[in-house]
């Protein structure tokens, strides 16, 4: 979508983004809150999907998601730390250690990593660091793809200022829609990771199918995503925390209640662990065991698939 960057600038102005400079009107173009329990219409003329708890047209969802992430981009890392009380770092470390990727010392072919929806780059840098420290691999290449140019800009900034990969040419940041990944050839990647991104896709199954397409045979698909807490008592506490404290923190720290309200609603909407594992299987992956590993009682889960 070449219009994406043009659209993006106009969306920042019309969606409920709060300017850091001072008072800014919460735009009325954010549609009126819909009643809960409204069924989704399935006629082709107006195909709808969910955006948090709201029902929106399918074409709208991509724009709305892009708007949310543009407005949270600059405070993304601070907010993640505050909201998860730092636990998200443990989750990401666990994912990187579990995957244990890197070109082995006796091999002569560097790996191709792909991190989708990886805007600010923390998984990307983590994977390359792990490969270097564990296996001495400083040749493998990383591609970070994200639908949102503002998040990519943050990622590029961090890459050049905080890591040593800035000038090495090993990391490239490209603006892509995860459901299509037009610029990436089929059967070209060894590892596909997506952390906290797939729940924002308009069509999750299409995203999984594309993941299958771009991976080489033997390639690994790994998805770290928020999931459902199985224990009801813990679930109650977790939901009270997410729905009441997270938007409040978003309001006070990032001046953006609505984006964080969307984030917690989209977590609720995401399929349960076993349903998502079935979706991964449907894309064609071989899913070992039950297909997922719960982290922090199910607040997050890692799903793994292998392309045979």
């Amino acid at each position: 979508m070449n219009m994406s960057s043009v659209l993006n600038k106009s969306i920042i102005r019309t969606l409920p983004c709060q300017s850091m400079l001072g008072c800014r009107l919460l735009s009325t173009s954010f549609p009126v809150y819909q009643q809960q329990g409204q069924h989704e219409s399935v006629d082709n003329a107006g195909k709808t999907t969910h955006f948090g708890f709201r029902t929106v047209a399918e074409e709208e969802k991509e724009k709305l998601v892009r708007g949310v992430f543009s407005s949270v981009a600059s405070k993304y890392d601070i907010m993640n730390d505050v909201m998860s009380m730092g636990v998200h770092r443990l989750w990401k470390h666990h994912l990187i250690n579990k995957l244990n990727c890197g070109m082995r010392p006796n091999s002569n072919r560097p790996l191709e990593f792909l991190d989708v929806a990886g805007g600010t780059g923390d998984i990307a840098f983590g994977l390359l660091d792990h490969a270097y420290h564990k296996f001495g691999d400083n040749l493998s290449k990383m591609t970070v793809a994200d639908i949102n140019p503002d998040m990519l800009a943050e990622g590029r900034k961090r890459c050049s200022s905080l890591t040593s990969y800035g000038n090495s040419g090993r990391i490239q940041f490209i603006e892509q829609n995860g459901e299509k990944l037009d610029a990436i050839e089929s059967n070209s990647k060894d590892v596909y990771t997506i952390a906290f991104g797939i729940r924002n896709f308009t069509d999750i199954q299409a995203g999984l199918n594309t993941a299958y397409r771009v991976l080489k045979p033997g390639g690994i698909f790994a998805c770290l995503e928020f999931s459902q807490v199985e224990n009801s008592a813990l679930d109650y506490i977790y939901q009270a925390y997410s729905f009441s404290l997270l938007p409040l923190m978003g309001q006070l720290i990032a001046n953006d209640r609505d984006s964080y309200q969307y984030l917690v609603e989209s977590i609720r909407r995401f399929p349960k662990q076993d349903v998502f594992a079935d979706m991964v299987r449907k894309a064609g992956f071989y899913v070992p065991g039950k297909g997922y590993e719960n982290l922090t009682f199910g607040v997050a889960a890692i799903h793994i698939g292998v392309k045979l």
């Binding site: 709060q18 001072g22 008072c23 800014r24 009107l25 919460l26 009126v32 809150y33 809960q36 329990g37 069924h39 989704e40 969910h50 708890f53 679930d235 109650y236 939901q239 009270a240 997410s242 729905f243 009441s244 404290l245 409040l248 309001q251 006070l252 001046n255 209640r257 609720r268 909407r269 399929p271 349960k272 349903v275």
Partner: protein, 290 residues
């Protein structure tokens, strides 16, 4: 006709159309399951009460307390960030204070008209271009547009009211927010921190909004000594003298009096203009340079 009947029977037995493949059945099951899941997931454990107006976010009491605490810390440390002022203003505007304001409005004819009309101030409803060119030099409208230009603000940059539960009280609070710029106009106070504090004191004494009182009480402690002495020696006495004795400003229908002479209006509502704060600050700087 017999043929139709035969076909109809076949259809009712499911023998007419191609039988569903197992994949089709799986797809249908999946959509059914996911729509059921949607219902279930949507309900969840945490639900909010129903909204009273479209932008309403009904907060529970503990959330209001947290908002008061968080906004007050933020507003004290960095009053230039609007979200803290907004959050603190709405969360501390307890029904008791707003009910007092409502009673004040209901006991005045113009106040009653405002409650009935529910005017909403925007740059189009006030017609800013006309204000600049059409109105006489010493009118309220002209002074308002001059003030907007001088300070570089616009009536469109006001936040929506979201956390006040009663619908009419939410309107009253919105009206207070929108009229704030007019209060600046008739008192001539600029939007620098000192000017805002002085105006907050005046507003608290005139309207009783708790946020204004908190601002007047605590905000001076985050200013310099010179500014504090100006506030306590000049502006607070002015605010006490005028805020308590002038007509309640919530009952002024600003949109209808834009063409009136500003000095005449001030005399009518028994308000005297305070010393020009920008002038005082400039003189202070010049004296300091010498």
């Amino acid at each position: 006709m017999g043929e139709d009947a035969v076909l109809a029977d076949k259809m009712s037995r499911g023998e007419l159309h191609k039988p569903k493949t197992s994949f089709q059945k799986y797809q249908e099951e999946e959509t059914l399951k996911s729509s059921q899941l949607d219902q279930q997931q949507q309900q969840g454990y945490f639900t909010r009460p129903a909204k009273n107006y479209p932008d309403h976010i009904p907060l529970y009491n503990f959330e209001k307390l947290l908002l008061i605490f968080g906004s007050s810390v933020g507003a004290f440390l960095d009053p230039s960030r609007n979200e803290f002022i907004v959050g603190l203003g709405e969360s501390t505007a307890l029904p008791w204070f707003l009910n007092n304001l409502r009673r004040q409005m209901l006991s005045d004819a113009v106040g009653r008209q405002i409650l009935k009309d529910r005017p909403h101030m925007t740059s189009t409803s006030l017609n800013l271009e006309e204000l600049r060119n059409k109105y006489p030099k010493n009118s309220i409208g002209h002074a308002y547009i001059m003030w907007l230009d001088r300070e570089g603000v616009s009536p469109d940059t006001r936040e929506k009211v979201r956390y006040i539960d009663d619908e009419e009280l939410a309107f009253i609070f919105r009206r207070y927010r929108e009229c704030h710029d007019f209060y600046h106009t008739i008192t001539g106070l600029p939007i620098v921190r000192e000017g805002e504090i002085a105006l907050k004191c005046f507003e608290f004494l005139n309207l009783g909004i708790p946020m204004a009182g908190l601002g007047a009480l605590f905000a001076p402690w985050n200013t310099s000594a010179k500014q504090r002495s100006r506030l306590f020696n000049i502006y607070y006495p002015w605010a006490f003298k005028n805020g308590l004795h002038c007509k309640p400003l919530i009952n002024v229908y600003w949109e209808k009096i834009l063409d009136r002479d500003i000095d005449e209006f001030r005399k009518e509502i028994n308000l005297e203009k305070p010393p020009d704060l920008r002038e005082l600050r400039k003189q202070q700087k010049l004296k300091h340079k010498k």
